[in-house]
């Protein structure tokens, strides 16, 4: 009886040791995976950051102004002035005139 009890204790001790080791290593593996993912996220974030910086660089006002000038023949973009603001009634009139012409 006593021997059985001790044997059971011994076995359960062994089992729990094995379990603890397993959990430990599984946890480490997951940990490593998380680290890998974190690194990936970080590198994607860095890339987004770089692309955003590049986007801001490409959209810097000086370059846009130059592009507007260079492509004036196709885009016909002009500086916005007060006359570009119309109230809704005027807009409706313009719309109506367009339709008439069509």
């Amino acid at each position: 009886m006593r021997v059985m009890f001790q044997l059971m204790l011994f076995i359960s001790c062994l089992l729990s040791a094995v379990w603890a080791y397993q959990v430990n290593y599984e946890a480490r593996a997951i940990k490593r995976e998380i680290q890998d993912l974190d690194n990936k996220i970080q590198s994607v974030k860095n890339r987004i950051n770089l692309l955003e910086a590049e986007w801001a660089f490409l959209n810097r006002p000086k370059r846009l102004a130059r592009l507007v000038d260079e492509n004036f023949s196709t885009l016909r973009l002009v500086p916005i002035t007060r006359d570009h603001f119309k109230d809704s009634i005027t807009l409706e009139l313009i719309d109506a005139k367009k339709k008439e012409r069509e």
Partner: protein, 568 residues
């Protein structure tokens, strides 16, 4: 002999007995010790067991440490404009360092490095690499292309370290506001970025905080407006042959600064080192709008008039004697031309009469005028969020006697920055309450401070300023169909060598308000030593130099601010 033997035997037996006794006694002892050992083992194993479980569950100490340090360096917060457009960000690049003792062919490495980095001399690399030191920094930052070239040298002992670099994608735009950065302490795995000027320095702690790296600094600037104003100002400075200039565009009701421009400017990506020692104002890193303290002249005239209206000492139609010249404290005060014997208060402002303004200021009295200038914020530093602000104290007379009051009434003997002027004008036209200038975007479009003048006086001031533009010193310019109010000022620059004032060198200022009906925006433009030679005559007056530039700015910027849709 036997007895002796017996005796011996007896002794031996007793010895045995004693030993026996000892044995039984120590047997009990052993049991106790075994128990102790058992307890010790159980404790030890349970300790190890719990430690193992803890290790399996929580991150291990070593790994956790690595994560913290990799977060700690770099990742300075971004700076964006009021619409979220990027003004400053970080990109990952590399630094270059070396372990000189590991390099086999030092001569070749030195030659190759000098070829890859043409901005550094051969001697620089010789000095760095021919050394007993185990570690030397070669470059703080290198581009990917340069990294490839260094790799191609194919020698051991050259290493790359990851690093973050601050970049300003818009180049020179808003350079004075942004300031610049430098590297603080450097490590192989990164370097600390520190602000050196502007908002980068003022908000250095907030931007560099390693714990929340997700935030951003949202400025009140609008980068589109900023770029446009800089362009127009730069063209205007070129056209007028001016030494420099500045422009401040401010929301009068919240104090938010939409644009802050100063010329000459610089590229914050390659910030020039220091101010020039002999003449700081000619350095590109000098912020004229904030650090430039000038006697701004006639733009001040609206202040005593506003106070006189507020105190009911005059109304806009009151006649003022303008016969001159006035002699106060040994100084002659005259007008730049003869306007007749008397003008109404309205005409004093519209025609910009010095004598008229001084007579109005005399009615107010020195202490009242000084108190009013103080309320408008003209006597102290502003609280603008730039590192340069703290060092910039306006100059004003120590004692306000009759003479000082007289000169201060038309903007002489008192020197303030263009920001000060914008703040003071904002208080006059926003309904009459004080605002704090700010470069950070505010939640509310109206932030009311202490009342400076009544709403009624504010309305009168706006109508006076409007008349300056419709029939006074600023009437010749086209403001793109917008109703604008403003006041011009042309002040001779003080001569630091001879004392007194230069006759030919002036600071021209136009402080304007648009749309005048609401008084929402205040624009202050100054030009340093402008000269309009476009016609047959040359002009230095504000009306021919700074006003046309301001007019162009307003006609282009106001539509971008969404003004004009309320057209009647």
């Amino acid at each position: 002999m036997q007895r002796k033997k017996k005796g011996n035997e007896f002794r031996i037996v007793t010895k045995y007995r004693n030993k026996d006794l000892n044995y039984t006694h120590s047997l009990g002892n052993y049991r106790f010790r075994l128990f102790l050992i058992l307890v010790a083992f159980i404790l030890a194993f349970s300790l190890i067991g719990t430690q193992m479980i803890l290790m399996a569950v929580s991150p291990t100490g070593e790994q956790a440490k690595v994560e913290v340090t990799s977060n700690k360096i770099g990742s300075r917060k971004e700076i964006v404009d009021r619409n979220g457009k990027l003004l400053a960000t970080n990109i990952k690049i590399n630094s270059l360092y070396a372990h000189p003792h590991e390099i086999i062919d030092k001569h070749m490495v030195i030659n190759d490095l000098a070829r890859i980095f043409p901005d550094q001399s051969l001697q620089f690399f010789q000095k760095k690499l021919i050394t007993e030191k185990p570690f030397v920094w070669l470059r703080k930052t290198i581009s990917p292309k340069q990294q490839q070239s260094v790799n191609d040298i194919g020698q051991p002992g050259l290493y790359f370290g990851p690093r973050e670099m601050r970049v300003y994608p818009n180049g020179k735009i808003a350079s004075h506001t942004l300031g610049g950065t430098r590297f603080g302490f450097q490590r192989v795995d990164g370097a600390e970025i520190l602000g050196t000027a502007g908002v980068e320095l003022y908000f250095n702690e907030f931007l560099g905080k390693p714990e929340d790296t997700d935030g951003e600094l949202r400025l009140s600037l609008d980068v589109t407006v900023q770029a446009l104003i800089e362009q127009i100002l730069q063209d205007g400075i070129g056209l007028m042959g001016a030494k420099g200039g500045s422009a401040v565009l401010m929301k009068s009701k919240s104090g938010e600064i939409i644009s802050l421009a100063s010329f000459p400017n610089f590229n914050p990506n390659e910030r020039p080192k220091n101010l020039f020692k002999n003449d700081p104002a000619s350095s590109p890193i000098f912020n004229r709008a904030v650090q430039g303290i000038y006697e701004l002249g006639s733009v001040f005239k609206i202040f005593p008039v506003a106070l006189a209206l507020e105190k009911n000492l005059v109304d806009v139609g009151t006649k003022v004697n303008i016969r001159g010249p006035l002699k106060i404290g040994g100084r002659r005060i005259s007008d730049h031309k003869y306007f007749g014997p008397e003008l109404t208060v309205e005409e004093v402002i519209v025609k910009s009469s010095n004598i008229g303004t001084v007579r109005i200021a005399n009615k107010i009295g020195p202490s009242n005028l000084k108190e009013f200038y103080g309320k408008l914020g003209l006597l102290n530093n502003t609280n603008l969020e730039l590192s340069e602000t703290k060092l910039t104290v306006p100059q004003s007379p120590k004692r306000w006697k009759k003479l000082e009051t007289a000169t201060a009434s038309y903007g002489h003997g008192i020197a303030v920055s263009p920001i000060h002027l914008a703040v003071a004008y904002s208080s006059l036209v926003n309904g009459g309450y004080k605002v704090e200038p700010t470069l950070v975007k505010r939640e509310f479009s109206e932030i009311r401070g202490e009342r400076v003048i009544s709403n009624k006086t504010s309305g009168l001031v706006k109508s006076l300023l409007s008349q300056v533009v419709t029939e006074g010193t600023a009437k010749d310019s086209n403001f793109g169909g917008y109703d604008v109010g403003g006041k011009t000022g042309t002040a001779e620059k003080p001569d630091p060598l001879k004392g007194g004032y230069y006759e030919e060198k002036v600071i021209s200022t136009f402080a304007s308000v648009f749309p005048i009906s609401t008084g929402d925006y205040v624009l202050v433009v100054t030009l340093d030593e402008p000269e309009n030679n476009l016609g047959s005559e040359s002009f230095r007056y504000a009306s021919k130099t700074v006003v046309p530039i301001s007019a162009k700015i307003i006609s282009r910027v106001a539509p971008l601010l969404g003004l004009g849709s309320e057209r009647e």
